[in-house]
Assembly symmetry: C2
Homo-oligomer: 202 residues x 2
DNA sequence: CTACCCATTGAACAAGTGTTCAGTTAACCT
DNA sequence: AGGTTAACTGAACACTTGTTCAATGGGTAG
C-alpha cells in the first residue's frame, strides 16, 4: 500500500488542521503526538510532514490563522468610526461573543498554548493579539473623550472586558439554562455598567 | 553514593511541590518530565516516588491544596454576613486580586491543567472550585435581594466577574505602569459599575 | 560498636517521541 | 500505453517518557 484511492492533498491538508485543532484543544499541544493526529486524519504519521514542516509550525499556523481571521472578521463587521462609542462597544461585545463561541477550540488553543510557542513565534502571535486588544482600547478611549464612558484606565479596562467575555468559552454549552441571546444581553449589561460608571460613587 | 549528607524527607517533599509548581506553570504539565523536576529538586528521578505515587497525583495535590487554601483564606478574611452586600463584594474583589497575584503559578495551573486530570480528580477539583464561585454568587444574590445591585443573572455575573479578575494574573507584572493599589481601584470601579447598573438604560 | 531505618542512587524497563526516507502505488498527462 | 508526479506507507533513527527496584550509605538509637 502506498497512495490511497481518492486521495487528495488539499483535503488532507485541511483535515490535518482540523484534527490537530480538535486534539490540541482537548488534550493540550504537548500531550498530543503526531501519531494521534495522523490516526484522526486516517493516515500514517510520516505523511503529515508533506503538509507541515513540524509540530511546532502546526501550532503556530493554527493560532495565526485564528487571530488573522478574528481581526479580518472584525474589519468587515465593525461599525464606521462615525458611530457613537456606545454603539461601537455594543457591536464589539456582540461580535466577540459570537466569533469566539463559534470557534471554541481555536480560542482555547490561542490562549492556552502560548507557552509552547518558540520565542520568535510567540512574538508574532502576541503582536497580532495586541492589535485586537487595541480595537477595544480605542473604542473605550473614544467614549472617554466624548464623555459617554466613565473609565479610569482604558488599557486595563480593555483587558478586563476581554477576559470577561472570553471566559464564556469555558462554561458555555448549547442547550444550557439560558439562550445565547439571553447570555449576550447579560454581558451587554455588565459591560455597559462597567464603562458607564455607577449611579453613586462608593 | 546513596543517601546524601543533610538529607531530610520533609524538606524534599516541600521542595518537590515547589519545583513541580514552578515548572508546570512555566511549561505545562505534559511538557514537564519527572527528570526535569528531579533536577530542580537536586535529586534523581526515582527519589521523587517516595513523595508522590505518580505524576498525576502531583498535579492533583497542587491544585487541591491551592483551592483548599483559597477557600480557607476566604473564610478567615470575609466580612460577617451582617455586612452590606456592597461591602462584602468589595472585600471579595480585594481578596481575590491579592490572593491570586501572590500565587500566580498555582492559579495558572489550576485553570490551565484541568484537562490533564483524570476524570475522578477533575470531579473533585471542579466541585471545590464551584464552592468558591458560589461565594460570589451568594453575595450578588444578597445584593439583588436588598436592591443594592441591579443584576439580571447572578450565576452568569459571578462567572464574568471572576474571569475578569483572574485575567489579571496573565498580564500583571511588578514594576508595571500602575501600582497594585491603583489597579485594584480600577477593578473595584469596573465591578461596582457592572453590578450597580448604569445611569441610563440603553 | 552494632543494628536499624531513612533517603537516595543508578540502572533498567517497555513504551512512546518527533522526524526522515526509500519504496510503492493511484491519478493524471501526453 | 507509457511516463511523470502526487500521496502515502512502514520501517527506522536516536531519544525521552513514567515508573520500579536492588543496592548503598548517612543518621541515630541502643
Amino acid at each position: 500500500m502506498a497512495r490511497k484511492t481518492g486521495s487528495d492533498g488539499k483535503k488532507t491538508a485541511t483535515d490535518l488542521r482540523a484534527a490537530a485543532t480538535a486534539l490540541f484543544a482537548k488534550h493540550g499541544f504537548a500531550a498530543v503526538s503526531m501519531r494521534q493526529i495522523a490516526q484522526k486524519v486516517g493516515v500514517q504519521a510520516g505523511a503529515l510532514y508533506l503538509y507541515t514542516p513540524n509540530k511546532q509550525a502546526l501550532l503556530f499556523d493554527i493560532m495565526q490563522q485564528h487571530l488573522d481571521g478574528l481581526l479580518g472578521a472584525w474589519e468587515t463587521e465593525k461599525l464606521p468610526d462615525s458611530a457613537t462609542p456606545l454603539a461601537q462597544l455594543q457591536r464589539f461585545v456582540s461580535f466577540h461573543i459570537h466569533y469566539h463561541l463559534d470557534r471554541a477550540d481555536e480560542v482555547f488553543i490561542a490562549y492556552m498554548e502560548l507557552r509552547n510557542l518558540l520565542p520568535e513565534n510567540l512574538a508574532t502571535i502576541s503582536e497580532t493579539r495586541r492589535r485586537y486588544e487595541l480595537v477595544l482600547e480605542g473604542i473605550l478611549a473614544a467614549g472617554q473623550k466624548t464623555g459617554d464612558f466613565q473609565i479610569s484606565d482604558c488599557k486595563l479596562s480593555s483587558y478586563a472586558i476581554i477576559a470577561m467575555l472570553t471566559g464564556m468559552t469555558t462554561w458555555y454549552r448549547d442547550q444550557g439554562r439560558l439562550s445565547l441571546a439571553e447570555i449576550e444581553q447579560v454581558y451587554q449589561g455588565l459591560v455597559y455598567g462597567a464603562v458607564s460608571g455607577a449611579k453613586t460613587k462608593s
